[in-house]
Symmetry: C2
């Protein structure tokens, strides 16, 4: 008997210093709740973990509150460069795209790479051409833009630092200091694991910078032998430590539990290199871990027959 479960995250970061209305916070909680509930239904109907994480990340991309897909942050040049990855724990097949600007749902392009390409990672115009050839609709470059993200770019670019107080972006986590990524992990009723991650990158980032999100083993990993993992945080540190795969490696080679392995990565390995962030992970027994070393992480989960739980802060 497996304990089918889905978990999602919407990025980790510092608490906002701006005054936020209860209604605004409720928007975040409601979105997290609804996306988890949709994934729960897929799993309850016997759907695959791969389908559940694809659908959850597609919904997170579609929601402008989170830094992926629509609502993605701007590069220094005022453009959007999106990255996504997905991995099937049953087959160890994987797909990813990086630096795409004209695909509405980067996670669907990553899924197409997994299914219909001999490759794992496609970048830039080549990735876009492949996605369109696979039937995904191209979108204009400004499709992802929202007024809130443009204001954020102008604040960060003009000051070349982050600003802590700004009424315009009263959100639970500070948008100018958030480590923005979205992701999902799932265990399905058939005992298979999957993970998916998507991001708009860092506000004001240099064009061409690729973080951990589209890199198998850094921001995303899944194997039925160990765990499914999706990360969010200071991408470069997650890349240098192979954070997602390291969870699996500790379980496989050191015999550590999911709790031990994820705590080691987030509370020891990542801070040692001055990184911060968090991850969500599930193992083949349905154990769940959602550790983070920042002040908060947008997150939610549900077992197939359980209640939907969402949280933003350490305790709630």
């Amino acid at each position: 008997m497996t304990r089918a479960v889905i978990a999602i995250h919407g990025g980790a970061g510092a608490l906002s210093r701006s005054t936020m209305s209860a209604a605004r916070e409720q928007q975040y909680r409601q979105q997290l709740h609804d996306i988890v509930a949709a994934g729960q239904q897929i799993l309850a109907a016997g759907g695959s973990a791969l389908d559940a994480v694809t659908d959850a990340v597609r919904r997170l991309e579609a929601c402008p509150l989170f830094n992926a897909g629509r609502g993605a942050v701007f590069t220094h040049q005022g453009t959007h460069e999106l990255d996504a990855s997905i991995m099937d724990g049953r087959t160890l097949q994987a797909g990813a795209v990086a630096g795409v600007s004209h695909i509405e749902h980067p996670i669907l392009a990553a899924r197409k790479v997994l299914e219909a390409s001999p490759h794992v990672l496609l970048i830039g115009a080549g990735a876009e051409a492949f996605a369109v050839a696979q039937g995904l609709e191209p979108v204009a470059a400004d499709f992802f833009s929202t007024p809130e993200r443009l204001a954020q770019l102008l604040r960060v670019r003009d000051s070349n630092t982050t600003q802590l107080d700004h009424d315009a972006a009263a959100t639970p986590l500070d948008e100018d200091r958030k480590l923005g990524t979205v992701g999902a992990v799932a265990l399905d009723l058939h005992g298979n694991l999957a993970a998916a991650t998507s991001t708009g990158g860092m506000t004001n980032k240099q064009a061409g910078r690729v973080g951990d999100s589209p890199l198998i083993g850094a921001g995303c990993y899944a194997s039925n032998d160990s765990a499914a993992v999706s990360c969010t945080g200071t991408g470069e540190v997650f890349m240098r430590t192979l954070a997602a795969y390291d969870v699996a490696a500790q379980m496989k080679y050191a015999g550590r539990s999911l709790q031990q392995a994820t705590a080691s990565v987030i509370h020891d390995t990542i801070p040692e290199l001055e990184g911060s962030g968090g991850l969500i992970a599930v193992d083949a027994q349905g154990n769940l871990a959602l550790p983070f070393n920042s002040e908060g992480m947008y997150r939610g989960f549900a077992y197939v027959e359980g209640a939907v739980e969402v949280a933003i802060y350490r305790d709630s």
Copy 2:
């Protein structure tokens, strides 16, 4: 007392079925010898492992015999897209570029990313702009082209298969079936490890495809705690298995020796996913492993006070 050592590879693959002159084979052996000897001198003079692997890969890129830099293979579209990565085992700092077409030495661009950028991976035009801003000279897109590689593209593209017999490319390993990458690993007199990898990718590859070479943990990894590793082979399998980091993880978490860990990756993990290729690795004690599961791998190594050894086939 450390046993300072450098090892290099020029790709793994199947033996050529074409008749090759002894003089042609000797060209390969001479190039491998000279590049190892140059790295040996750097280490003997007290140079860093990071400098030794940078220099060795720069020389491998400059040599048209190997698929990296000048002499890189063509994409399906008749262009060149080059990838490279480097990692410093002392600091776990890393730098990489992918999909660059106008940088003479991708490994020098990767080194600049390591030294002068907060990022780890830059792709495409953004990577090229960064490299030029750091003082690297741009080159025209046809700089990397050689008549031999163009003939190879036309053979592979026209047939959509690989051709086994062709007098034009009489080389020790079959150029149309070679898994082309170059790389270097080193341990210096100060006890520090480093690894570097560079490639022109796969002949006839789809534009935008990125393999394992520029990905930290897949085609390149170094940590003083475990080992320095550079891989060559069917890139997608090395990406899905995090081949380079897995060597380090087996040593750290399972207490395996460098020999055991590298044999496990190359002879068990990679073939299980129908991959082939090889790797070169050195640990902090100066132990060396150069396993491959293909018919041959261009390779060479030298300890600081030892002779330069080169080999192509299983036994020589």
